[in-house]
Subunit: 715 residues, 2 copies
């Protein structure tokens, strides 16, 4: 049973700090509970005594006669600890602390929260807030907030009361309400992942919306729990989120607003994608998405048909289709033939289907053409744009007709297995036929871009579900079973020597523990050894200085390429050692590493860094100019499986480089994916590692070669 | 005097086809003219006789007693030629043909338009339409359309009546009206550039809006005239445009909707930029821009301050700032000190300035903080976001206060020299204080993104004006004065031989005529010559087969690199000739071209192609993977001057490659700009040229080298 069941479906609620003073939170909340007709027992706890909204009050929670599932606490911080002790004594299962003056005010408030949490944990009581605006639950008709909320298909979890007001204001105008609604405040105990997890079990929720300023993380596991909870929920119920702090300036502002430690925006964005969350930019878009998932069937593909009575609006919808990741292909000959029978010769029918003035003569063309499009197996969704809803202004006859046609279209849409969204320039006027359509499963927008963007989200969700399924699998490359112990031995030796930087030979041996097919390397400590090693390796050899004190080997003159004889190996050894000492006279130089020099392929980077919110991550990108100039890289929170790694590689803008650009042969993408995957598993298992940088990695026609490897441990 | 003066400011209007049948265009238009109180004489021409709206009717235009400046023609196509003849006979100065059934219906209609135009030209009468929805002009209070239009600061020129309805519907809800409004229909005579040109002279227009499906072009000059007219007007009055047909599918749809030949979208986009036109995506954005330019002062820079009473809304505004090309820098210490005196310690003041609950205690903090921000010389504009306008709901006292503060803020804004835009979640409710603010110079939006995007446009306009000024200059590289004749001699020789492809030696000689510092080349016709030429050139030499029948020299084995001796030159000559003949046995081979082999620099492409709408264009991009995989190229309609060429180079995403990426030295950007500029002048002067492709061009630390040159003539 979810810990949040007593929060969203309590049999009884106690409001502690209930008040008859109409300027107080304790009054507004009491009013909301009563007026919204909570389907359970309400107990008001007030030190002033007397009745409130016709109900008795109790001096403290211990005096309340029945059991209490949920306590709503609206009292000053100085009383909070004793009140919470009492709640625990009473056996209250969950609490919402709406009062302010806690962690958000500074260290003292944070200390108070620590003590509160201690009490709550002791009593096994889960706590929402503090510093929040309460909760709503349609299941029990419970409005434990001060906002006027209505039941409906959305659930909304927010980190800001003002956005709650903003979104609700606009939701009302769309006749959209909530199954669960919660403002999570300081996230002292209950955090985003708890609510996301709860919604997985709530069948009334058709779409889950999140407004996020940042996760509260005390350990990396909090970030990971959020991803895992979202993945499970998103596979069943679409999740859309706003996450602010996207820009550098915005991140700075978010940090000063919420006090939350800002992780990297790029990683957060990647984590949302990984979690199957649809990220949107604005409250308007959030509600567009909510409306679509509340009303429509998801689309099975990206191929849409546009039906319009305004040529320009049709073209504009087609333009936006491309922008929002849809396709508006030329309709099949069979479909065009059927449309030709319905429409006049001058009407374009390829897609968009442009009624071009025919509705004035016969309004039923809308219905008949829609029927043809819904029937076409090559059409995954239909977007109707233009002027429907405005014909009523022309005559009473048209008004009646418009409504009749609307009813017929709605019926056909409800029977079809694909979504239809609509745009009408008259939508802001709310004409009756559009209201009817909107109330019966077809979102109607005022703007073409909103309609098409929303269809794009509907179509994207089937892909998203598919990739969630794929990425839920266990497909991993083969790795040696003793990898962890062996690698830890290397890391421990490094730590024992007081270092956090692994030299390249050490980094390579760690990679080798994980089964990465990395070239043999040899550490020469004198010129004779260098000559001997050359004999072993043969051909062309690379020599690099090995020293924990020399990180930028090239700058130090510590790299020699194309060594092709024993003598040259000898000379190079002496030269590199000399250069190293000149660069840093007290450098601890382990020797010179020698490896075979492989033919170069396409330059890539594979790496890992540590994110404040999500912990170890993994990165793949094209190297050289691509990473330096175009920042063309893909991220994931580690660990990831093979399908995720394949999709990381596909995300790269310069993917063509790896697929055989300019007449060259395609690279071994599977080998790249395996290496990315193994690195992600490695950094997840070896939490001492702070950073990995394999750069460059040369992608080859078969396999790959890791030309340089760097590993840094946490300090 | 503009040809369009009689159209927008007629002293007298005749409506030909006036009707008392309330289902006819001739009735609706008569009604609009009369009800809108046209400030001039109205003459109704109707074959039915009788009175209409209290005015007499005349059987034909020749019977009309006074002079007629403008005839509005609403009659069936079969009568059009005789009516137009009569108009010409009467000396009518301009006409609007609102009837349909002309060029849009097919070849017969196009032929009819040709005859109409002949008549109009003969009588020096300019014609708008046919197939349009008329004209509105506030100057004469003339509504010669069937839409309910009001006076105001916008002018709007449209290619679609439905969009006219759409935009007007939304303009009304914003209290925005028009100075000039015109639907241009089939553009038989008057085209976009005529209207854009007219608006330059209309001081009442604060912003010009265009809705475009495509230009009607009969020669390339039509496209160029549009660019030139827009440039002049945009330097004085901002122009914003929607151009549909952006995507491939959209372009296909636009072509079938308007029948206009679609030019390249990339070129159209470049042309709009070049013309100083702000391109937007949707009618909503078009009106946002219109409202901003109608109400606000332009911003002198991109640095904005965000003032908010909703922390999340403030962060969101800051995020959008980056997206919409603005900066939200940390405010100066001096400004922060002033804000600190006004606000409580917990309020963030770095930017955004977050009132964080203080307005409930003292509403005047809005006014005082705004004052500080308007006064800061490092702030170019202020965006207010959040909940202003909703305080009135809390109490009567707040309602009065909100209005008083609004009045004070509006006064300060009107006195300041920078724009302020606002967003409030309560905007859709139109509370009185927001209405007041909106009517007094501050656009108020419901969505944060709309507010910030609009500020971005206000800030971008000063840059746009600056670059229009720069690009209006005459700065060109030095070119030989006899370039045109000499180059034409080469082209004529090619044409005389029945070819359209220049071989490389010919292409190079054309470039040399234009003063491009291109390496000497030598055409060897036998092995001995090849050896002799090698002696002359020395070092390393490139040899390429020269044949109009072999376009893909590499594929044909027609290129030899690194030739470094006379013997090798001899051998290479024989081998190349053999390869050429094997590739195409009947190829006409002119010989083998020899040039010095220069060290490679950064690979670029400079080229030109011919656009259906705008004629010769010029292109610059980075070569190799950048063009093949990233399509990283900049376009302009030719000719362009040096400042434009410099900005083309700066547009490239991979610009860093030319500025010295990865430790290499920066390239000679000025030499690249000069070459682009000269090519643009060349293709403008030599209209026989259809295509130029200099690929690769190697950008060097000093100067550049053109390694291959291809020129194709129109067939």
């Amino acid at each position: 049973m979810s810990d949040l069941l007593p929060l969203f479906q309590p049999k009884s609620v106690a409001l502690i700090g209930a008040s008859s003073n109409s300027k107080k939170y304790g009054y507004w909340t009491a009013k909301s509970l009563v007026e919204n007709k909570f389907e359970g027992d309400i107990y008001f706890v007030s030190r002033s005594g007397g009745e409130l909204f016709g109900l008795p009050t109790y001096p403290d929670i211990l005096e309340v006669p029945g059991e209490v599932d949920l306590a709503i606490i609206a009292i000053a911080p100085k009383f909070i600890l004793s009140v919470m002790e009492q709640c625990v004594e009473k056996g209250v299962k969950s609490a919402i602390v709406v009062s302010t003056g806690f962690g958000e005010t500074g260290p003292e408030g944070k200390e108070l929260e620590r003590k509160m949490l201690e009490i709550a944990r002791k009593g096994n009581m889960r706590v929402q807030g503090p510093n929040c605006m309460g909760t709503y639950s349609a299941a029990k008709s419970m409005n434990a907030s001060i906002i006027d909320l209505a039941p409906g298909p959305m659930s909304l979890v927010l980190q800001s009361g003002n956005f709650g007001i903003d979104i609700n204001f606009n939701a009302k105008s769309r006749n959209l309400g909530y199954s669960c609604w919660a403002t999570i405040g300081n996230q002292m105990d209950l955090r985003f992942h708890d609510f996301v997890e709860y919604v997985e079990t709530d069948d009334e929720t058709k779409v889950l919306l999140l407004y996020m300023e940042g996760l509260r993380v005390e350990s990396e596991e909090d970030g990971r729990k959020f991803i895992e909870a979202a993945k499970r929920t998103a596979a069943k119920t679409p999740i859309a989120a706003i996450k602010i702090g996207r820009s550098a300036a915005g991140a700075r502002a978010a940090a000063s607003h919420t006090g939350s430690l800002a992780g990297s925006e790029k990683i957060f964005d990647a984590a949302l994608k990984q979690a199957g969350i649809i990220r949107v930019d604005s409250p308007g878009q959030l509600l567009d998405v909510a409306e679509a998932f509340s009303k429509c069937k998801p689309a099975n593909g990206k191929r849409i048909a546009v039906l319009t009575d305004g040529g320009g609006h049709g073209v504009m919808a087609t333009d936006f289709a491309e922008k929002f990741n849809l396709e508006a292909p030329v309709l099949s000959d069979a479909t065009q033939a059927k449309l030709q029978e319905i429409l006049m010769p001058h009407c374009p029918i390829k897609n968009p289907v442009d009624l071009a003035g025919t509705p004035e003569a016969d309004m039923w063309v809308f219905d008949r053409c829609l029927d043809v499009l819904l029937d076409d197996p090559d059409v995954d969704g239909v977007i109707i744009v233009g002027l429907y809803g405005g014909y009523a202004d022309l005559s009473e006859e048209f008004r009646v007709l418009e409504m009749d046609v609307a009813k017929s279209m709605v019926k056909k849409i409800s029977e079809a297995n694909k979504p239809v969204v609509m745009q009408s320039i008259y939508q802001p006027q709310h004409p009756e036929c559009l209201e009817y359509i909107s109330e019966n499963g077809v979102p109607v927008f005022g703007a073409v871009d909103a309609a098409v963007r929303t269809m794009g989200v509907l179509a994207g969700y089937s892909d998203l579900k598919k990739s969630l399924q794929e990425e839920a699998g266990e497909e991993l490359p083969v790795m040696p079973s003793d990898r962890k112990e062996k690698a830890e031995a290397v890391l421990n030796a490094v730590k024992a020597s007081g270092r956090t930087n692994l030299v390249e030979t050490e980094a390579r041996s760690v990679l080798r523990c994980y089964g990465l097919d990395i070239m043999e390397d040899y550490l020469a400590t004198n010129a004779d050894e260098a000559a001997d090693f050359y004999k072993k390796i043969g051909g062309k050899v690379v020599m690099k200085i090995v020293s924990p004190d020399i990180l930028h080997k090239t700058d130090a003159g510590g790299v020699a390429l194309n060594i092709d004889s024993e003598d040259k190996a000898r000379d190079a050894f002496e030269q590199l050692m000399k250069n190293g000492r000149r660069y840093k006279s007290d450098a601890d130089i382990f020797g010179v590493m020698m490896t075979a020099m492989l033919p170069g392929g396409v330059e890539c980077i594979i790496g890992s860094s540590h994110d404040n919110t999500f912990g170890p991550t993994v990165m793949f990108g094209l190297g050289g100019i691509f990473v330096e100039i175009l920042k063309d890289v893909a991220f994931r929170v580690a660990p990831v499986n093979m399908p995720s790694c394949r999709s990381m590689i596909r995300e790269i803008k310069g993917l063509g480089m790896l697929q055989g650009a300019r007449g060259s042969k395609p690279c071994d993408l599977e080998a790249l994916a395996e290496t990315v995957c193994i690195i992600s598993q490695m950094v997840n298992e070896l939490r001492d590692i702070a950073e990995v940088d394999l750069n460059p990695v040369f992608a080859l026609e078969k396999s790959l070669s890791i030309a340089d490897a760097r590993i840094v441990l946490h300090g």
